[in-house]
Symmetry: C2
Subunit: 636 residues, 2 copies
């Protein structure tokens, strides 16, 4: 026999109840039943003293009687005490009702004791059992969240406030990802998506920022580290966006050999002079030291907060270097950051952290921009991979800057940030690291996607191409028309027209709709978020490039938007989205998008909706947003 | 501040615990703590009697003392009793621990009292709040099932046994639909799917079984009732399948004018004679009565259980009829079922229920097979639509059979069932109700699917075609080769080759894969279950028809199976299935399949897997089956 639970209106009505109880909790209340009745316990024991006094004046019979009465009291006491632990079901029911009413009317709603519930076995799909609780009077069964969390992949946490008056609350979160509403129509010249929130360099899978290139080095798919075009572009787009959203940085010029000069400590065997550079038409500093740190020319800086160093530097010999000493004021430990003329990426020896400027760096002027916090942190991680110390930016202090060997420098600054420098470092990387024949920025690592043939090193990603084009389009515009950026962006369109099997990124769904592949797999995988990023690159070039290049980008963009509209609903599962279409290509289970990827889908559609008025995009975005809050498509 | 709950291993470990506790409940156990300690209560009161006896022999002081002691006892008693309702949090904690241990080691696990939990507000996605329970010690939050049921669309019920020793249990059911595992390779000559479980005629949307045609009349999309080919075919396939799975029916021949003769009550103005029919080469009964029930020739039957009446009948005048009187032994109410020579479908006047044999029924021999239980029940429903009485088959008794007017009859029988008669009635219907030009069995009603243009009366369904072909292929085989069935089945293939817009049922997905449409909508809707049924019809004809017709059906079947394999995963949401692909056609939310349709998908794939060895089908069926138990596709 089975009795089905009636569905309670658990929505607004319950909500109101909970809030009412909550509101009451903040008002002064008369003492609760517990408080009132627990108080008289101690005086009760004091009453025994006159009893002893009486006993002394009574005869033996009375004493015996009293003793037996005492025994009775103790017996009765024990019995009644024990009864508290073994009351009959009837008592329980009364108790239950009483305290339910208390809960609704008394003060500390969240912390109130409620009716004792019964244990009940919950048989889950006749497969296994868990322990649940039952409130027989309310015809309700309570299911433990630890089970639900796993079964439905939801999350939740108890929030506690410090004070006792504010009750604990349980926050049920269907998804823990975040939707970013666009602030207005998408503009290529403006912020890219919501990338002002990105901080690429702090990611664990970023080994460090190459000192030779000024761009991140990834360890995601190969531990030795490699340049990952998609990541480099995100680094650039994040800094470009931060430059637009963050306050103007504070820039502290230490030495420019002109208006700003510092008093350099120059050992006897060393030499530093300010000289006129005819070509640059400015003064620069020339230095020459012997080997060994003690011969370095140096300045004390004692600068906190402004941790982005930049300098124009030319090193003459490969034993020359720039050395910056940074103190962790929390641990009192200091680190020496060495920027050396070598092919090295990153090396650590105790407190000495070495970044290589590249073997080709000798006798060339280089503008170097380093986030010293990142450089210290990545050095620490490399030095202690197991449990690296996490250094707070606010704990760091730049103690000194020094030069060794033979060389020239100018314009040493420390700033709170220098986003544009990072952005241009990345833009330059794309100009100098493009395959001239294919127009691709290649991924130099293997990549295997479950079920697909492995991608061999050298593959191109539509997402990488699109991101790079988004960077280059911005660099072209921001630089006031530097055609090197435009040419690279234009050449970057080429792989959009070449099928994956021929080295490009193009796929066709059901021989009908063209798709730009984040991963050019065989068969096609149709990753959604990478495709949309590839479209944004096309949009950016279309809206910044002149004439023919704009038209070419626009044509590819329109072709992609057409496919997107026809294929978008293929990703809709009615309660979330698929990350890709491998289920269709391989005949396997759908590869569902985890919530942060789902949120990316939503964010991307919301952004596209600002530049394409087709209601399909805005409507789908809204529905997909709802899925993050537990909404579902209807069933028939 | 938020503290995340740790995920408990709620799978096998918990299951074992629960089962152990359960197993213990069936063994004799020493009395529990409650039982042991509740017992001494009554003797305690008896001990007060000697106390009164002592008081009488004591002095005033002692009496006063004893009275004060008595007051103390009562005070203490009340205090301790009250303490039971107001124990301090510390006591609660001890109690909790103690009873948790009890639960694990004692007998009535399911009914055990557990530690009182705290009320806690659960904020659901920051949108609204519900009341939850918290076990702070176990770091667990309990969520009410009434919320979960609605939020996740799961079901559950508390099962209680009559006896107190077997604890109540909560059955959590992710889906309440049933998977039917095929018993072996699918065989056209055998059972259709699991349709032996179908009982088409009892469905509410079946108005009645037409006496003119012997097939059901639907009211699903039009209240006046109409012939719905899909339903008629399911009626036929259910009876064909029941004929194979049920025991041989008991057949009771009442009168065949030969070896079985009954003593007919023949009023004076009436006449009945047994005559030789030269053409049939058998004896038949001739009757002639005046108008009015009192003149009818009749027999008393008093037959229970065997409620399927069959008779060979020829009525000469349109005031002639067959009348069967049936008693509901529960309500003592009797019903007269009149089978009359009229164009009427079903009409009710108090206890008289009229079924029309059709205006064309005069002077033609008809073999009539009626389930008297169904005929009574449908009459009752028509007579009292608001709260029709539900009649139990076992309550019915056939009291009498009577004939009125002028006519002939032979072979009156009552049987437990006559499935093949129903099957052939339906097969005949398909032979006689096919559009000779298109080969379609048309649906004479409007049908509107949300978002699509309305289908106008006269539309053809691939499901109806396939089901009809499944019926006709069986009739062709079972009848030993009646070509009328084969010809109708063959003609029924025609709409599979004609696009929906041209009056057929053919669609093409992405201009690539051919699909047979249950509903020939514009744009196409691609209903999955109807498509697979349409394939089964093709398979059935392919495996029963000779030569060319088999090849034609086989070609259409292979074309459909190819599409199915390419498109099957489009329906996979990772946690269930879509009913159709309207989300792709219309750009709207997916139309998710409710669990019974999902189960149909699974059942169909399991069946197809017995005739197609492509692992895609069997693997997908298994995964989809898992979804019914809360399994989900992985997310990335």
């Amino acid at each position: 026999m089975s009795e089905y639970l009636s569905v309670h209106a658990s929505g607004n009505a319950s909500s109101t109840d909970a809030h009412d109880a909550h509101a009451l909790a903040n008002q002064p209340q008369p003492p609760s039943q517990q408080q009132r009745e627990a108080t008289p316990r101690k005086p009760q024991y004091n009453k025994r003293e006159p009893l002893v006094f009486f006993i002394m004046r009574l005869n033996l019979k009375a004493v015996l009687l009293l003793l037996s009465v005492a025994v009775m009291i103790i017996t009765l006491g024990i019995y009644m005490r024990c009864a508290a632990f073994s009351f009959s079901p009837d008592l329980v029911r009364q108790l239950g009702k009483r305290q339910t009413i208390d809960t609704l009317s008394s003060s500390a709603a969240g912390q109130e004791l409620s009716a004792p519930l019964q244990d009940i076995e919950c048989a889950i799909n006749q497969e296994y059992s868990i322990h649940c609780k039952r409130d027989e009077n309310a015809n309700e069964v309570y299911v433990p969240f630890s089970f639900l969390r796993q079964y439905f992949d939801v999350s939740g946490a108890v929030t506690t406030s410090g004070s006792g008056s504010d009750p604990a609350k349980f926050n049920w979160m269907h998804s823990n990802a975040k939707v970013n509403l666009p602030k207005g129509k998408y503009e290529t010249r403006g912020v890219f998506m919501y990338f002002e929130n990105y901080n690429v360099e702090v990611r664990d899978r970023v080994k460090c920022i190459s000192a030779a290139e000024g761009v991140p080095v990834s360890t995601q798919w190969e531990k030795r580290g490699y340049f990952y075009p998609t990541q480099i572009a995100q680094f650039a787009l994040a800094h470009y966006s931060k430059n637009l959203t963050e306050p103007t940085p504070r820039v502290h010029v230490l030495e420019d050999a002109d208006g700003n000069q510092m008093d350099w400590t120059t050992p006897k065997t060393s030499n530093m002079t300010r000289i006129w550079h005819h070509k640059f038409n400015t003064s620069i500093v020339q230095f020459e030291t012997t080997i060994g740190y003690e011969s370095a020319i140096s300045i004390q800086v004692n600068q906190t907060q402004d941790l982005v160093l930049s300098v124009d530097l030319l090193l003459v010999t490969n034993s020359s270097s720039l050395m910056v000493t940074v103190l962790n004021r929390d641990t009192k430990h200091s680190y020496n950051l060495h920027y050396i003329a070598a092919e090295l990426l990153l090396s650590v020896q105790e407190s000495n952290i070495y970044y290589g400027l590249g073997s080709g760096s000798l006798n060339k002027w280089r503008h170097i921009t380093r986030d010293l916090h990142i450089d210290v942190q990545k050095g620490i991680v490399l030095g202690d991979k197991r449990s690296p110390l996490k250094v707070r930016r606010s704990d760091l202090e730049v103690l000194s800057v020094a030069f060794l060997g033979i060389g020239f420098f100018d314009n040493i600054t420390l700033s709170t940030s220098d986003h544009l420098a990072h952005f241009y470092d990345a833009a330059e990387w794309f100009v100098h690291n493009q395959d001239a024949k294919t127009g691709g920025w290649v991924n130099p690592v293997r990549r295997s996607l479950n079920g697909f043939a492995e991608l061999r090193p050298g593959w191109i990603s539509a997402m990488g191409q699109g991101h790079a084009i988004s960077v280059l389009a911005r660099a072209y515009w921001h630089s006031g028309g530097d055609v090197r950026y435009l040419k690279a962006a234009s050449l970057g369109l080429q792989p959009y027209r070449v099928y994956s099997r021929d080295g490009g990124v193009l796929a066709q769904f059901m021989e009908k709709y063209y798709w730009y592949e984040e991963y050019p797999t065989t068969p096609a995988s149709y990753v959604l978020n990478g495709f949309i990023y590839s479209l944004l690159g096309l949009y950016d070039l279309n809206s910044t490039a002149p004439g023919k290049i704009a038209r070419e980008a626009g044509k590819l963009f329109n072709q992609g938007m057409h496919s997107l509209k026809k294929m978008l609903l293929l990703y809709d599962t009615g309660s979330g989205t698929s990350y890709d279409l491998r289920h269709l290509s391989l005949g396997v289970a759908p590869n569902l998008a985890r919530w942060d990827y789902h949120a990316t889908h939503v964010n991307q559609l919301l952004l596209l909706a600002t530049i394409d008025s087709d209601p399909l995009i805005a409507q789908t975005a809204e529905r997909w947003k709802g899925y993050m809050f537990g909404k579902r498509a209807k069933h028939n």
